[in-house]
């Protein structure tokens, strides 16, 4: 039975704040609709009749291919690591998550540089074996390139869901299936794969959303997805009306994916009869089996993390010199500054919303929380256009009504960028706080209320100290995501404002691939350091409790 704190007055500061957050998150999408103009521009007519089929086709192929390949990699690795014991398994469990620290656009630059004409592989073939790859007319199709990069960058989403599920339930399922006389290979397809469906859908949806959001990889390989089309219309031709229409179409596609994912999760969901299943001992592999498992995991780790990392290090050594470092340093600090500022704001707003939800529960507050959490699913290009439209309106009002120093326009300042970060990453922070609330339960908040403390003091004195770890973990997740962010920053950054991500993008755009390694390594190092910090904190808090 769900217990909850009783409601008091219908309106309090917390509830008002939560409503403000909800409005703030929803506004860009409302203003997107204002961008719709009645008449059809010539440009849009052109796009609709000539380009739209291409956009749809290339977006669908890229998304479909990436999800399929990511699922293949993610599930086979999860199956290997979760259910079998072989040398190096523990290390692989962690290493196989590391690709999340490398933004996909960085992998794209790195692999393209590595495999390109001047890259290490072709150069070695030419110089030592006198083989010129071009003689064989070899070149991968552009979409295959992008699919490969997306799959190695985002398979961890599927891997992590599948691994957790298999570790908790897989071994016992496997044992009973074998006792019933199944053959191992058949069991995988008949028992394990159907059970993995929820993890596959959850992880696959995230991969879909990431690919739809991407600009760095698709623009680099010249693929016509909706996001690149929105960029082209907005930046390239200044056709705002077309950009808005494309954005609305993309938004519709995303909502369709979310609804389909919800529906698929609901149909044929398996409930495990007993919740008490603990993972059984994984099957010990020996000889050829162990070697095979090791080889599979090692090659995945090599392709997805070690090779790009090694290539970046090699390039960094090559291009390292004082002047380029000096030119990167201000961007390094700016990146930390905006990411830090936005994560602080997000965690403060997320905590306030969570307090409102818990102290004043109700159907509406649950709905509001869900609605505010949708921001992350919306592609950055869509959000950016909505935010720009919104800020242009606000600036118009400021110019008309405000006086003196207040007449400073907000559009295309760092405030616009920070606002967009808050809208996009709010849900990550909110989910972290909400997870913390689930863990600590209601009992202590209720004790505090009965002892005469109102909701605010209860939050400050009881819930906040207990939520500390959840809030810190949430802010680290948000921080790392913002450091890696590219499309939103590209559209909304003020003139001459660079983050490490946009610097890497600019280097790559100027065909200076080796130079991308410097901002890229900085991003990877910051992400890895913070994720390691979080892991350490979590371990310590688990041992101390």
């Amino acid at each position: 039975m769900r217990r909850r704190l009783a409601t008091i007055l219908p309106l309090s500061g917390w509830v008002a704040l939560r409503r403000l957050v909800l409005i703030g998150v929803a506004l860009p999408f409302v203003f997107l609709l204002f961008g719709l103009t009645g008449e059809e521009s010539e440009h849009w007519r052109q796009v609709r009749s000539h380009m739209l089929p291409t956009y749809i086709w290339e977006t669908a192929v890229t998304v479909g291919g990436s999800v399929t390949l990511a699922a293949l990699i993610g599930i086979s690795l999860a199956w290997c690591v979760a259910l079998h014991a072989f040398p190096g398994r523990r290390a692989f469990e962690v290493i196989l998550l590391l690709p999340l620290a490398i933004p996909a656009y960085i992998s794209a630059y790195t692999y393209d540089g590595l495999l390109g004409y001047t890259g290490a592989i072709q150069a070695a073939l030419r110089n030592h074996l006198r083989i010129d790859v071009n003689d064989y007319g070899f070149s991968a199709p552009r979409m295959a390139n992008a699919i490969f990069i997306f799959a190695i960058a985002y398979y961890p989403y599927i891997y992590i869901f599948a691994r957790t599920y298999l570790r908790n339930h897989g071994a016992s399922m496997l044992e009973s299936a074998m006792l019933l006389g199944g053959v191992r290979g058949r069991i995988f397809f008949r028992v394990i794969l159907p059970l993995l469906r929820p993890s596959l859908i959850a992880g696959g949806t995230l991969v879909c959303l990431e690919v739809l959001n991407d600009y760095g990889v698709t623009s680099y390989f010249g693929i016509h997805t909706f996001t690149t089309a929105i960029f082209a219309a907005w930046f390239g031709m200044g056709e705002t009306a077309s950009a808005v229409k494309l954005a609305l179409l993309l938004l519709a596609a995303v909502l369709a994916i979310l609804l389909a994912s919800k529906a698929l999760q609901r149909v044929g969901r398996y409930h495990l009869a007993s919740g008490k299943e603990k993972g059984c001992r994984p099957r010990k592999l020996e000889g050829l089996g162990a070697a095979g498992a090791f080889f599979l995991c090692f090659s995945a780790a090599a392709v997805c993390f070690l090779i790009p990392a090694a290539q970046m290090l090699a390039w960094a050594r090559m291009v390292w010199d004082a002047s380029i470092i000096a030119s990167l340093l201000p961007d390094f600090w700016k990146t930390l500054f905006v990411a830090g500022g936005a994560s602080l704001m997000i965690m403060a707003l997320a905590s306030a919303s969570a307090v409102a939800c818990h102290a004043y529960p109700g159907r509406l507050s649950k709905l509001a929380a869900q609605a505010a959490s949708i921001g992350y699913a919306i592609p950055a290009a869509v959000l950016a256009i909505g935010a720009v439209t919104l800020f242009a309106r606000i600036d118009g009002m400021i110019v008309r009504f405000a006086v003196g120093f207040l007449r400073v326009p907000l559009g295309m300042t760092v405030w616009l960028l920070l606002y967009a970060y808050v809208v996009r990453f709010f849900s990550i922070g909110y989910q972290a706080v909400e997870g913390g609330y689930l863990k600590i339960g209601n009992l202590r908040s209720e004790v505090s209320r009965v002892l005469g403390r109102g909701p605010t003091m209860t939050f400050l004195l009881v819930e906040l100290p207990m939520l500390r770890n959840a809030i810190i973990s949430g802010s680290i997740l948000v921080f790392v995501d913002i450091i890696k962010e590219l499309p939103l920053t590209l559209i909304l950054r003020p003139f001459n404002f660079n983050t490490l991500g946009t610097r890497a993008y600019e280097f790559a755009n100027n065909e200076a691939i080796p130079e991308t390694s410097l901002p890229a390594l900085a991003i990877v190092a910051i992400s890895a350091a913070f994720v390691a910090l979080m892991q350490l904190r979590n371990e310590r808090s688990e041992t101390s409790c």
Binding site: R3, A6, L443, S448, R449, V450, L451, G452, P465, C545
Partner: protein, 217 residues
């Protein structure tokens, strides 16, 4: 505030409740009256709404209908709902709910925020004396045994001198041999503080050992 000084100390009338959704009614037209200083026990199988009744009196749930009056003060009726922090009711929860980040003294002092600092200190010291744990004031809850945790929770509930103390299965988490001694202790502590108290338990022995009057639902 309308005070009805002639009536009983706690008056619960025609109280009905269900949890959200279309679950069946947990309480239907339930009524109860208690005099000041009384220690009343309430028996009944688990799931019959005993805990819910305490949560309604404390203000942690809103009833579907009915009235609750404490010391002549209506805390719930059709128009009114006094939030838990204003009711001056103490509650000892089944799982204690000690604050893990506060010491024993910090836990006991938590509800004394309206007192000036010296008085607060004196009150905490008195309470520690009452539960015979003055030397453990600086310990954290996880450094205490189950029985000690229970006494700290009791002291914390009693410290703000609530008008009414509610006890929800207070002894069910204790070992059998510990249970008897703690039960007696708790009765002494509560009766020496003179607090009116309502205890619910599925264990008739618990009720018989502590309460002056036993009703069953």
């Amino acid at each position: 505030m309308l005070k009805n000084l002639d009536g009983p100390f706690l008056r619960v009338e025609r109280l009905s409740f269900r949890y959200t959704g279309s679950t069946p009614l947990i309480l239907r037209d339930f009524s109860l009256a208690m005099e000041e200083g009384e220690m009343v026990g309430m028996a009944g199988a688990s799931g019959c709404g005993k805990t819910t009744l305490l949560r309604l009196i404390a203000g942690l749930e809103r009833p579907l209908g009915g009235t609750i009056e404490i010391d002549g003060w209506t805390v719930v009726d059709a128009e009114r709902f006094v939030p838990p922090e204003k009711r001056r009711v103490g509650m000892l929860f089944q799982d204690y709910g000690l604050f893990p980040h506060l010491t024993v003294a910090g836990n006991i002092a938590f509800g004394l925020h309206r007192l000036p600092r010296p008085e607060r200190k004196r009150c905490v010291a008195e309470m520690l004396e009452l539960i015979r744990m003055p030397e453990l004031a600086r310990r954290y809850p996880y450094e205490l045994s189950g029985g000690q945790q229970q006494r700290v929770a009791l002291a914390r509930a009693l410290a703000p001198r609530p008008k009414l103390l509610l006890l929800d299965e207070p002894f069910s988490n204790l070992d059998a041999d510990l249970r008897e001694s703690i039960r007696d202790e708790a009765r002494q502590i509560i009766s020496s503080s003179g607090t009116t108290c309502l205890l619910v338990s599925h264990d008739k022995d618990d009720l018989a050992a502590v309460c002056g009057r036993i009703i069953s639902q």
